[in-house]
Symmetry: C2
Subunit: 112 residues, 2 copies
DNA sequence: CGTGCAATTGCGAAATTGCGCAACTGCGTC
DNA sequence: GACGCAGTTGCGCAATTTCGCAATTGCACG
């Protein structure tokens, strides 16, 4: 393996580090979707979406199959969903912590 | 919170998308570590490491406390470790899939 | 075959990110 | 206070990423 493990991991995260790509993956969590649907759900023009889809395809996070004149994308493996779930967890924890901190400060200010 | 959820998630991933930062987080999984140790374990110069640590600090993924003349970093919450674990899972699955494919191709070539 | 729609690709401009170097802060020691 | 060590910050430059636009491919239909 010429590529250190931690570099592969970093690249994986870097690939996920874009709003459009995140939205695509989240939409695909509910099952395969044609590009048309993604395009309708995300605010981005066709060319832009295609570029991001290409990134996800190259990294094999999603698979694409042609069905007639449309192309249908799907997650390639449930691991992706699990990763997204972990990210959601972390964010929720962080936001909760922030709220708790705010409440604390308010309480302190109120009692003074 | 004026920031859409998926943007926060994308930013989280983007922050993790760098080899040095990944290594730092992985080293911190075994418990708090002074900068000196990180510096010894990772191939990067002090200034560079500091910059990456600053990124992690700003995003509150790690916490820093001064202990005498050294600074000790630690993960802020077990969620980070969980996220890293999920990433490891995904990578292992992907590599396993690739190996299986290679074996298949070799078997095919051998039988021909 | 030609036309139209879906999706992709190529490419240059613009924005972000990372890197190296110098300068700076905090702390302990003499 | 002056010095040295640990770690940080500021800043300009190089490299990477993203975006928008035009051109292209694949497919269905008249």
């Amino acid at each position: 393996m010429s590529v250190p493990l931690y570099e592969a991991k970093a690249e994986l995260f870097r690939l996920l580090g874009h709003p459009v790509r995140i939205r695509v993956l989240e939409l695909l969590q509910d099952g395969p979707k044609p590009v048309r649907d993604l395009l309708a759900a995300i605010e981005v023009e066709p060319a832009g979406l295609s570029q991001h889809l290409a990134v996800l395809r190259r990294s094999e996070l999603v698979t694409a199959r042609r069905d007639g004149s449309t192309v249908v994308y799907a997650l390639s493996g449930g691991d992706v969903a699990e990763l997204l779930r972990a990210a959601r967890h972390l964010l929720h924890a962080k936001l909760a912590g922030r709220h708790a901190l705010l409440d604390e400060l308010e309480a302190e200010a109120g009692s003074r």
